[in-house]
Structure formats: C-alpha cells, structure tokens
C-alpha cells in the first residue's frame, strides 16, 4: 500500500482513463450559493412568520453563514481541489437548515420563557459558534491529513484513544458524565462534550486499518456447513469484542442509539473488508440475541419498546410515549406540505432542537421538506460512497464506505426513531441538531470523506510508460469493472 506502488499502477486503469478530472469547484461554489439562498430564504420566512417583521438578525446570521462556507469552499479549493463538489453544499444546506430551525425554536422558547418570566437561553448563537469551531477542525483535518493513507500509521493510537474516549463517561462518576439519564458526557468546566461522537471516527479509522492489514485472516475459509463457509472461531474475535463493547455502552452508559450505531458500522465494515455475507448474518444474530437479552434485563429497554409499539397508549406513563406522540402529532399536523417555517408549534415536542429536530422540520416543512432532507443525506452519503468506490487503496475504500454508511445509519436510527419506524434511541441528527460534539465530529467525518474523494479524483502523476508485464485484467478490479467473482488475485496488496 505504499505510495510508489499505487502510483505506478495508475496508468493501467483502462476503464478509468487517466484523463484530467475536472475540478468542478465552480459547481461547488454555485451549489453553495444555492444553499445559502435557500437557508437565507428559510431564515426570512421564520422571521416573517414569528415576528411579523424582519430584524437585523437576518443580516448577521446570513453573513455569518456565508462567511463560514466561503472559507470552507476556499479551503477545499486549496487543500482538496479534486474533492467531490456536491459534498460540501449538502453539508452546508443541512447545517444551515438546522441553524434556522434552532433559531426558530429559540424564538418560541424565548416567548414562553418571557411569559413565565424565566431566563432566556439562546441556542442559535452557540450553534453558530460550534459551526465555526467545527469548520476550524474541518480545515485542520484537511491540512494535517494531506493523504488519508497516513492515518494508517496511527491506527492503533486512534484505536486506543477511541476506546478510552468511549469508555470514559462510563468510568467517571455520574456527576461528571450524566445528563438526562444518558451517561455519555464529559463535563468540563464551562462546556461539556460527548466523547463518543469523536470515538466513533477514531475507531472507524482503527478498524478500517486493522481490517485491511488482517484481511487475509478473515478471508480464510472455515468449515463448510450446509454449503455455507463458516468463519473460524478465532476470527470471530473482533466482532465479539465489538458486540461486547456495544453491550457495555448499553449497560454502563444507557445509550441504546450509540450501541446500535457502532454495531451497524462494525458489521458493514467487516462485510466490506471480507466480502462475506456470513459476517452480516453472524452479526445480526448476535444483535438479535443481544437485543433480546437487553429487553429481558433492562426496564428502560422494555419501556422504549412499549413506547415504540404504541406511544399513544403509554402517553401518560413516566418515561412513556409522550415525546414520541408529540413528535407524531407535529408530523401529522404538518402533513404533506407542512405548516410553513415559523408557523407551526414544533416547540411543543420536548428536545425539539436536538433529538426531535426532524419532527420539528417535518411539522413545518411537511413530508415534502422531510423527504427533501432525507434525499440530501442520501446524496451526501452516495457521493461519499462514490469517492470510496473510485479511490485506489483498500483503506480509503473501507474508511470512505464506513464513513458514508455512518451518515445514513445515524439518520436511519434517529429519524426512524422519531417517525416510529424503530424504537426511539436518542442520537443526534448529523448537521441538523443542536450540539457541539456532534457537529464537530461530523465535520471531521466530512473532511475525511472530502480527502478520500479528492484522492480518488486527483489525476495520478504521469506514470512512466513501460511495457505491461502483468495481465491488465488482474489489476482492473478496483475500478468500475464488475469482477466475475471474488478471486484471490483480485485485491490490492
């Protein structure tokens, strides 16, 4: 996987001709401008509907938004010029819509706070600040990591830090780590962070690197039973460790969502690395078993399931379906076209600006708006996946695929929970919901995706023309050709 080797083979991609890939940064700028237009319009609508007048806030937030993404765009131009031009605009749009909704819920809560003569807490300015910080981190990642392959050098360090970060809240006393029953925080003077959000990415880097290095091990066949190749027992190690770790999160941090998310990511990465569906089967089996055990053991899991089956029935119970039911009421009231931004009552739902922000958006933008948001996520993840498909190294593929999948997995878990598709497990909605850790972590994720996509589209340094000694077909696997079957010779070294 060393650089010279990768470079020398580049010229042989017959199906991916070594022509200069267009940078398309103009496209990115135009799309960013479009996103800025949508976000500013949304902002104006919120103000018009809520205050019946426009204030200077529009200008201030609008300019802040423009400045943030202008800087991001310039940075991408400078440090990842070949990166996919759709990724950043998608992120900018989601982030912007999230900001608008957080601002909108601020207004509603301020109104209520004033009538109860309580202190007003404004989340939107803090979220702008988080966005700026996230952008700084985004830039830092782009600059510090000029080539994603360098990450493999620190894989074990990342893995260790990741595990510690993940476990830290569980080990610390509740006074330093528990907020609203979830023991996932690290409370520092002045601010709190959710180390799990960052651990997610660190562990993915480790896992991708680990799987690529030990890939042969997992590919080795075990016994065949009923025509299915079972993995050898000792190869089950990593997935069992992952399962135990997730169960640990579940038990000690009471964080169902993160556990589910981690497990899904591990499964998918294992599958992509080994190309063997049996891992998914084994994983799902473990998941079902774990879920059943968790259901038997923990009352809060039973409560979540009861709330999922019929939130209206457990509406009045403590810890019951009130929140989900209110979210559904909001979604139902929004209907197909929504009540209009600023014209609904999304603040009725508890946690409307974090876990339930999609319910708030679904209420005011309607099914149409919610569907559009989901499509933006899909577009974002698919563009990330495209980068993973096109990049030439296995680590990049695995990491890119894992990161892309993470986005959709998060969206599936939280939006599925809000819309009663699956039991509610509180995790953040990427880029939309209020919260610094999630935003920062997801911007790092996007920076890595951009980095991989940049590597995928970057023209290779012109290879010295030399006669072809090897059969081209054996090497053509990593590009857009479909391999007839997973052959031993068909993988990169």
């Amino acid at each position: 996987m060393s650089q010279p080797g990768a470079g020398s083979r580049a010229a042989q991609y017959a199906t991916n001709p070594p022509r200069e890939m267009p940078k398309r940064s103009g496209t990115e700028l135009a799309l960013l401008a479009f996103a800025a237009f949508i976000v500013t319009s949304a902002f104006v609508l919120v103000q018009a509907n809520q205050e019946q007048e426009l204030s200077w806030d529009v200008v201030w937030y609008g300019l802040a938004y423009l400045a943030i993404f202008a800087v991001a765009h310039l940075a991408v131009r400078r440090w990842a010029p070949y990166a996919d031009p759709l990724i950043l605009p998608c992120v900018a749009l989601l982030n912007g819509i999230g900001l608008v909704m957080i601002y909108r819920i601020d207004m509603a809560q301020a109104e209520r706070a004033i009538s109860l003569s309580q202190e007003v807490t404004e989340n939107a300015p803090r979220q702008v600040l988080f966005t700026v910080l996230a952008l700084a981190l985004f830039l830092a990642v782009l600059i510090v990591v000029p080539d994603h392959r360098t990450l493999t050098r620190y894989a074990y360090t990342f893995g260790l830090v990741g595990i510690v970060a993940l476990a830290l809240p569980a080990l610390l006393p509740s006074s330093l780590s528990e907020v609203n029953g979830a023991k996932v925080w690290l409370k520092l003077p002045g601010f709190s962070i959710q180390p799990g959000e960052f651990a997610k990415i660190l562990l993915m880097i480790f896992f991708a690197s680990f799987l690529v290095a030990k890939r042969d091990l997992f590919m080795a066949a075990g016994k065949r039973v009923l025509g299915v190749e079972l993995p050898r027992a000792r190869d089950l190690g990593p997935i069992l460790i992952a399962a135990v770790a997730c169960l640990g999160i579940l038990v000690f941090e009471k964080d169902l969502g993160t556990a589910l998310l981690f497990f899904g990511i591990v499964l998918v990465m294992l599958y992509v690395a080994t190309e063997r569906i049996i891992w998914v089967v084994v994983g799902l089996g473990l998941f079902l078993g774990g879920a059943l055990i968790a259901y038997q053991l923990f009352t809060h899991v039973q409560q979540r399931v009861a709330n999922w089956i019929d939130p209206l029935a457990t509406y009045d119970d403590p810890g019951g379906g009130y929140q989900i039911a209110q979210g559904l009421f909001g979604l139902g009231t929004g209907g197909v076209f929504g009540t209009g931004l600023g014209a609904g009552r999304p603040e009725t739902v508890p946690e409307a600006n974090t876990d339930f922000i999609t319910a708030a958006l679904g209420e005011e933008l309607g099914f149409v708006g919610l569907a559009a948001l989901l499509m933006i996520y899909l577009l974002l993840a698919m563009r990330g996946m495209r980068g993973a498909l096109a990049v030439r190294d296995t680590f990049g593929k695995l990491l890119g695929g894992g990161l892309s999948f993470t986005i959709i997995m998060q969206v599936f878990v939280i939006v599925g929970g809000v819309t009663k598709l699956i039991p509610m497990t509180g995790i953040t909605t990427p880029f939309l919901s209020y919260g610094g850790s999630s935003l920062l972590a997801n911007y790092i994720l996007v920076a890595l995706l951009l980095r991989i996509s940049d590597a995928a589209r970057r023209p290779q340094p012109a290879a010295k023309p030399r006669p072809q000694a090897q059969a081209p077909l054996a090497e053509a696997h990593t590009v857009m050709v479909q391999r007839p079957q997973p052959a031993e010779g068909g993988r990169t070294e």
């Binding site: 998918v268 039911a325 679904g362 919610l370 499509m375 498909l389 969206v411 599936f412």
Partner: protein, 489 residues
C-alpha cells in the same frame, strides 16, 4: 472490494426508502388521526391564537364580542362589551370549556376555518398576514336589548324577553336573566375560568341557561292567541257567542276550571273573551275545536317544530298529548302540558302582526369578511310555509288584541305606541295555587304597521308573588321594550 461497497450503497438506499415510506405513512395516511388527536394542542392553540372575528350588532355596528391583542401564548383575548346583557346572544368562548351560543354555532366562521373565507385566507397567506376570522353582523338592536335587559334586571326578575321584527323574523332583542359574564369564561387565566364556571354552573338561578330558546314554560293565557286563531280559521268570528260562566266542569271529571278571580266574564262574544281573558270560554272553545284543529293551527305558528335554528337550536315548544277532552279544555288556556319557549311566544304576536304568516326568527343578518366586505346576507324566510290564519282573520285577531291591551293594567302604558297584546298568568309547579305564577306578556306595535313583536316572561311572579299577573308584572317590561324600539326608529 467494490462489490460489497455497492451493496452497502444499495442498503443505504433501502434504509432511506424505508424512512420515506414510513414518513409517508405518518404524514399522509395517518396525518389526520394525529392532527385531530385530543392531546395534540397545536390545532387548538392555532385556533385560539388566530384573530377571531367580531360579533357586531345591527345598529351602528356596535361590537358585542371583539378581540384584544395580548402578550401571552394565545395572542388574542376575547372581550365582550356588556357581557351579561348580551350573553344569551353571543354565548361564550372559553379555552377550557369550549364555545357555546353563537360563538359555538358560528365558530368555524369566526375562527377563520370556514370554507367561505378560504379565498381570502389564501390571499392573506400570500401577503404574509396571519389568517383572521370572519365577522358576524347580528340583527340585534342594542337600544332594544338594553331597554329589555335593564327593565328585567332593575327589578331583579328572573325570566326572558324576546323581541322580533314580525315582517322579517329578525331578532331585535334576546334577554335572559339572571345572566353571566362571558368575559370571565374567556379569561386566559385558567383559574379565573374555572372559578367563573363553577360559580355559574353551581348557582341555583342557572345564569348560563338561555331561557329565551333553551327553556319552555306554560304559556298561560298568551296561548289564547292560538286558540282564537284556530277558532277563527274554523268558522268563528269575533262576535261568535261563547260562554261567560264563572266556571266549567272538565269533561269526565269533577274538577272545575275557573275564570281568573272566579268571576263571570263581562262579555259573551269571542272578542270579549280574549279582551277579558275568560278561561271558561276558551276551555269550551278548545273542546269544541278538537285536538286536531288546535294542533294544526299551533303547528303553523311553529309550535312543535324541532329543527328551528337561529342559528342556535331552539328547543321545541309543544302542546302536550291532548289525550282527553279535559286535557283539551286546559290546553285551550295554555295550561296542562302546553309548553312554549319565550321565542315561540313572541312568534304568536309576530304571526298575528304579519298577517298570519310566521317568519323564521334569525339572529344573523350577514357574514362579513375580515375586511368587513359582505360574504353572505340572509334574506327573511317563512317559518313553516303555511299561514296560521288568513289575513282577514289576522286582522280580526289584531283588533281583539288591541281590545285586550286596553283592558290590561300595568305600568308603561302609552296610547301613542298603539300596542296590540295579550297577557298570561301561568300556573305551574306541583301546588299551582300556592306557587307564584309565571307572568307573560306578548304584544306587537304599532298595530297599523307592526315593527316589533315581543314576548316577556317573568318567572314565578317576579316581585309580586302569588298576586302577580301578566298585566301587573310583565306588561310594563314589554311596553318599555316596545317603546325603546319605536322611539328610536
């Protein structure tokens, strides 16, 4: 490694598709269930925070129910000017106890969700204004309403006054006393709402009952208008001879039915019988007519109509079973099981005043858009479509009522008003002779060109106790009301 990546890509597609399908189910298929769930406060809050339309009176557009902006969550406070005086007309609008009266009946229009307002609401949406409710213009004339309400409350009477325009059915006044203040029920403080609600509902005087249309009473001698009309329609004339005996024995019983005060009647014609309110004459008259003919004429006055809405629904008045001749005798003088609403009693006079044709009472003159342009105007309608009597008989009955008015005592007499009337003193309760009677007065004026018909009921004798009569207690209130209506116009 691309094959599994592609498969993961497909899996992501499937996951998002699942979310979309589920969102469709929640937001399209089940949307109505969730939106209308009683625990969903959004729709309710929306409705309450919308600028509700006004209820305005006919005269000079006086605002009876309006809104004032507030700085709380509901944004607008419903306010009633002269709340208790107009409570039977406006009803109330309470966050906690819902809406009743006109507020309830016209709710969709007032809160802006009525389809007739839709085009305007759309334009409101485009111009960015909050949707507002439509306004309702009433037929009520504040001068008449106020005179009637003051006349009742100044004397502390429990009862009701209804004033109609006999030619159109417009309700000029609708009073019920004692009354309640809808302002307290519309309060944004739920404690105040609850306190008011408990105070009003636990009060034995039942101030929240709209006596004019929601309660029936024995009409007593005012019902003789119906009996007379039935007799005239069946061949009698004002000069037809009737009995003047002091009492008659009810057929099939040993019970006697007496004239008021046990006296013989001063005259022996039908005209005299009405003028002096001779019970014996009317008992026999009803007995001779028979149940069917009496019922037929009564129906043409609107008695027995169960679907009358003004737009609030009016409880049906009825004659009772008329199961025996004795019952018929007693019913002929408005006793036994005859029960009329004050609204129906006003219709008796109004029908005579309008040449025998009852006009449908209506409270709403027009529906106005938020910008006060007219959306719909209501035209007068006939109540039953059948005349209760011919114009000639109506004319004859009118003359008889003029004579009756001349014989009626009580305050407020003013010959220039040209009133035609009939009083009633209705016995009720389980021991009628020891229970103060209801005092009735139904009249119209001026008799040559009727512009107002009224009915007054003062429950249980007002301040006169057992000695109360329609003339001594109710007549003055009726005349005051008529004077207010004619004096102003």
């Amino acid at each position: 490694m691309n094959t599994p990546l592609r498969k993961v890509g497909v899996a992501m597609l499937v996951m998002v598709t699942l979310l979309l399908v589920n969102a469709t189910y929640i937001q399209v298929v089940k949307a109505d269930d969730y939106r209308t769930d009683g625990r969903n406060s959004r729709v309710l809050l929306d409705e309450y925070s919308r600028e509700r339309g006004k209820i305005v009176a006919e005269e000079a557009g006086q605002v009876l129910a309006g809104v004032e902006p507030t700085d709380d969550r509901l944004q607008y406070q419903r306010t009633y000017s002269n709340g208790p005086m107009y409570a039977p007309v406006t009803g109330y609008y309470s966050v906690r106890y819902g809406a009743d009266g006109l507020e309830g009946n016209m709710d969709e229009f007032l809160n802006g969700s009525d389809p007739r307002l839709f085009v305007r609401r759309l334009s409101d949406m485009i111009t960015g204004r909050d949707p507002r409710g439509g306004n309702v213009r009433l037929t009520v004339r504040p001068s008449v309403q106020e005179a009637a309400y003051r006349a009742m409350t100044d004397r502390g009477y429990t009862g009701s006054v209804v004033a109609l325009d006999p030619k159109t059915g417009d309700i000029l006044a609708m009073v019920s006393t004692p009354s309640y203040d809808p302002n307290r029920l519309a309060s944004h403080s739920s404690e105040e709402q609850q306190a008011a609600w408990e105070q009003y509902t636990e009060n034995e005087a039942n101030p929240m009952l709209n006596r004019a249309i929601r309660e029936t009473y024995p009409p007593g001698s005012t019902f003789k208008i119906v009996t007379t009309a039935a007799a005239l329609e069946n061949g009698a004339t004002p000069d037809t001879k009737v009995t003047s005996a002091a009492n008659v024995t009810l057929p099939g019983t040993s019970t006697t039915l007496e004239n008021f005060g046990g006296q013989t009647c001063p005259g022996s014609t039908l005209k005299d019988a009405l003028a002096y309110s001779c019970n014996t004459a009317y008992a026999e008259l009803a007995g001779n007519l028979g149940a069917e003919k009496l019922r037929e004429t009564a129906a043409d006055f609107g008695i027995g109509m169960s679907d009358l809405e003004i737009p609030m629904s009016v409880v049906p008045s009825s004659l009772g079973d008329l199961e025996s001749e004795a019952a018929l005798y007693q019913s002929g003088i408005g006793q036994r099981d005859v029960r009329l609403t004050p609204m129906q009693d006003a219709l008796l006079s109004a029908t005579v005043a309008n040449g025998g044709v009852a006009m449908k009472p209506q409270l709403v003159r027009a529906l106005l858009a938020p910008d006060l342009s007219t959306i719909e105007e209501f035209a007068p309608e006939e109540l039953t479509g059948e005349a209760a009597m011919s114009a000639a008989n109506a004319e004859a009955l009118k003359d008889m009522m003029i004579a009756s008015e001349e014989n009626t005592s009580g305050g407020g007499k003013d010959p220039s008003l040209n009133i035609a009337s009939k009083t009633g003193t209705a016995e009720h309760g389980s021991d009628p002779k020891a229970t103060p009677p209801h005092a009735w007065y139904t009249a119209f004026a001026p008799h040559d060109d009727p512009r107002i018909a009224v009915a007054v009921i003062v429950q249980s004798g007002g301040d006169r106790g057992l000695a109360a009569t329609g003339g001594s207690v109710a007549a003055e209130i009726g005349r005051t009301t008529i004077a207010a209506a004619l004096g102003g116009g």
